[in-house]
């Protein structure tokens, strides 16, 4: 037996997993395709779906209220160094330091300059660090509450051009931001999947 082998009896036992019954297999497929749980035994999936629905209603309600309200105190995202500073910027992220109620998620390099990403309870903003131009404002996606944090998940992808920007919290769930050449992507959930991808202006 070389170093890469297990005892054949152990290997056989290790691989001997009873196949799923037809009913269970069908249930798994139905739930995955419908992304809802028909079986009471999958109570956690149902609970998560309910939590996600509540988050959607709360976020949607706030957004609707903000959209319909004529009040001038509806926050406007604008890059202005004269605004009150409520966060402490990290090194290299100075344009967004003037944004009220925003905290920096991280910075990354584009072809022409560095970019900053800031997060508030409402949205994410991407700012060009050279011109302090606001490149994009993105509403937070609906997220399923999870304790999973995507640390180290993207390491194998980094040589391909994507850059790890940073982590931020939305509705108590930690999400990870990845920048590609053309978009800013949000990863999270129980299996660190792509939740949203927001295209950014093409590089000059």
């Amino acid at each position: 037996m070389n170093d890469d082998e297990l005892d054949p009896k152990v290997l056989a036992a290790l691989r001997d997993v009873a196949p799923a019954s037809d009913a269970l297999r069908n249930q798994h497929i139905a739930v995955a395709l419908g992304e809802s749980s028909p079986a009471s035994s999958r109570s956690r999936v149902k609970w998560l779906s309910a939590a996600a629905a509540i988050i959607v209603m709360l976020v949607g309600g706030n957004a609707l209220y903000a959209a319909l309200s004529p009040s001038s105190d509806t926050p406007t995202v604008a890059v202005s160094p004269n605004n009150s500073v409520t966060t402490v910027p990290v090194k290299g992220s100075t344009c967004g330091a003037g944004l009220t109620d925003y905290t920096v998620v991280g910075t990354y390099s584009s072809v022409s300059s560095a970019r900053e990403v800031w997060s508030s309870s409402r949205d994410l903003v991407v700012i060009d660090q050279t011109s302090c131009e606001l490149l994009g404002t993105f509403t937070h996606p609906t997220v399923v509450a999870t304790e999973k944090i995507c640390d180290g998940f993207f390491a194998p992808f980094e040589p391909g051009g994507a850059q790890w920007v940073g982590k931020y919290k939305d509705s108590g769930t930690t999400l990870t931001l990845i920048a590609t050449a053309t978009a800013i992507q949000i990863f999270g959930g129980p299996s660190c999947v792509l939740i949203a991808s927001h295209p950014l202006p093409a590089q000059p």
Binding site: D3, D4, L6, D7, K9, V10, L11, A12, A13, L14, R15, D16, V17, A18, P19, A20, L24, H28, I29, V31, A32, L33, E35, S37, S41, R42, R44, V45, T146, E147, K148, G152, F153, A155, P156, F157, G160, G189, P190, S191, C192, V193, L194, S197
Partner: protein, 165 residues
């Protein structure tokens, strides 16, 4: 994929939950699969993450005491297979999580070292070391279990001291 979940999570019911979560994640993420890794590696990555999530969730829970509800029931010959199956499941459950995951990905999913390294987010050398240590610990645990089982068999079958037969 289901076998990977079962071997990492150990507990049958929780392994099915992990399998379910993995399938949901795969269905949701298929549009974003970019082909930078093999599709099978990508699937196993999601399954492994779902299984490890499940393991962390149940760590705060006491394990059930009856073996049938904890360990997977094997196929084939019941008597010897059940014993071997439960021994291996029990031994796997005693391994550190990172060793168990490496062993399962190598010997159940048949992944190579580079693929396991990508899934676990560690260098290939670390995978090699985890596999070597995991296999050694597994052999040691199974050896101890067999020795214990032999002792029990001898105790129950040996004639009482001083008897003449």
């Amino acid at each position: 994929m289901r076998a990977v979940c079962h071997r990492i999570v150990i507990n049958k019911s929780d392994a099915e939950d992990a399998t379910q979560m993995a399938l949901i994640s795969i269905v949701r993420a298929i549009p974003s699969f970019d082909g930078r890794s093999k599709f099978s590696t990508w699937i196993y990555r999601i399954a492994t993450n779902a299984a490890l999530d499940e393991v962390r969730r149940i760590q705060r829970r006491p394990l059930p005491t009856d073996k049938e509800s904890v360990y997977d029931s094997p196929t084939g010959d019941r008597t010897s297979a059940v014993d071997a199956q439960m021994d291996v499941s029990s031994a796997l459950s005693e391994l550190p999580e990172e060793y168990r995951t490496a062993i399962v990905l190598r010997h159940v999913a048949d992944l190579d070292y580079e693929e396991i390294a990508a899934i676990q987010g560690v260098p290939v050398g670390t995978v090699r070391s985890r596999l070597a240590r995991g296999r050694a610990q597994l052999a040691e645990i199974l050896g101890n279990q067999n020795a214990h089982s032999d002792r029990q068999t001898k105790t129950t079958t040996a004639p009482p001291e001083g008897s003449t037969s």
